[in-house]
Amino acid sequence: MRTLRIQTEDFDPGAEIRALAAGRAEVGAIVAFAGLVRGDDGLSALTLEHYPGMTQREIARHIEEAEERWPILGTTVIHRVGRLCPGQRIVLVAVASAHRRAAFEAAEFLMDYLKTRAPFWKQEHHGTETKWSEARRDDEVAAIRWNPA
């Protein structure tokens, strides 16, 4: 069971969690990650842009990789694009498994990919100022831990 959506609209984490477990008695654990826009440093909004053809296929490939690495029973990835204000939800990753360890690891693996290597670009709005976010070093390190050279 796989759900993958890139959308401008908000999503409902509770409904997505319910859908992952619905009617499946083998699911014992669901780990859900919800990412929110932080209002650090006077941020007034973010605008997210992505490369649609590449985003879909790269995320799908990482879901497949997670399915190969861990015994998971379902995955939901929803990522918003467009203009988002502090406090708004930006991403949801939810993974269902029989046991908790696989669900935790697969969810963290997918989040590390999404936050570091997925083809998204962020523009930060501070009042009337706007700048493009730079790729971050510590995030690169986080992604590398799943694929040591």
Binding site: G35, L48, E49, H50, Y51, G53, M54, R57, H79, I90, V91, L114, K115, T116, R117, A118, P119, F120, W121, K122, Q123, W132, S133, E134, A135, R136, D139
Partner: protein, 83 residues
Amino acid sequence: MTLLYFAWVRQKTGLGEEHVALPSHVHTIAELMEFLRARGAGYADAFSDPGRLRAALNQEHAPFHAQLCDEDEVAFFPPVTGG
């Protein structure tokens, strides 16, 4: 071929997508960047420092020495920042 520009590359070129015929002397992404740089001030600015750019060929990350065909989709963008 289809060319796509994202983030500040799109802002500098002034467009997100365009279709161009692959010139016969352009065989690689590096040569394509050289060719594009000569198309006007916005392009010259966007492609002035290849070290700040990344490319994708047919929706896969690709090195600048990758070979091109006329039906290819090539995208230029800054390093991704993730979601």
